[in-house]
Amino acid sequence: MGNGTRLGRVRGLGSSHHGSHHWLQQRLTALGNVLLVTWLFVSLLRLPLDDHAAVHRWASNPTVALALILLVISVFWHFRLGLQVLIEDYVHGEAMRLLAIVALNFYAIGGAAYGIFAIVRIALVPVAGVPGGM
């Protein structure tokens, strides 16, 4: 270290040229969240939430199911990025930080997969008396 050009000294050490990518994705998913989560929030207020048949009928509508899948992708990607920054700021030590980032990725990707699978199941499996759990 200490030799070479200024660019050569920093190359490979950080997120050069990737920082703006992270920043932009955070904003794009934020915009998606504003639309989709506001829609979900209003929907939840208007739905009879204790009535399984009614909620299931709503969620199995193709447009609603599609919007819910988009919501899961947008929200889970957004918080994966957000919690990543949080870990980078507050978790110190190489090993702990790596472990936290791995756990975050498992949580975000696993959670999104679970959510999308549930939505697809709601949309495609006919209601009532279906065996098995989720």
Binding site: A30, V34, T38, L86, G129, G133
Partner: protein, 126 residues
């Protein structure tokens, strides 16, 4: 300052408590009427005449978490919209910045109160 740390706190709350609650709800909805009823009995209201101690606690806890999530949603939404404005390079003057920070925090509390007054009204009307 305060609005910045609240953006993180509300974001974390939504990412962990909010996302898990959402997935629990979706999973129960997909699993069928019995699983869904069990979810509602745990988080919101157990309709059985003699409610066990566990559900008495979780029914209260569920509402506390949902009120918290409502606040976190509005706080993060309003604060996030503020960030969109700041991203354009506007609103950094000390007075303007302070004004909008305060408005975000007051707005979130007001919107949360309005939401739960609406829910309470709907519940009373049947």
């Amino acid at each position: 300052m305060a609005v910045s740390i609240l953006h993180r706190i509300s974001g974390d709350g939504l990412a962990i408590a909010g996302a898990l609650m959402f997935l629990w709800w979706l999973g129960a909805l997909a699993a069928g009427p019995d699983a869904y009823a069990a979810f509602v009995a745990c988080v919101w209201h157990d309709p059985s005449p003699e409610i066990g101690l566990f559900h008495q606690i979780t029914n209260i806890l569920g509402k506390v978490v949902l009120v918290g999530l409502t606040w976190a949603f509005f706080q993060h939404l309003f604060s996030g919209l503020r960030h969109f404005v700041l991203d354009t390079g506007a609103g950094y003057e000390l007075k303007t910045n302070k004004l909008w920070s305060t408005l975000v925090m007051v707005g979130a509390v007001l919107a949360t109160t309005a939401t739960w007054l609406y829910i309470a009204k709907e519940a009373l009307n049947g």
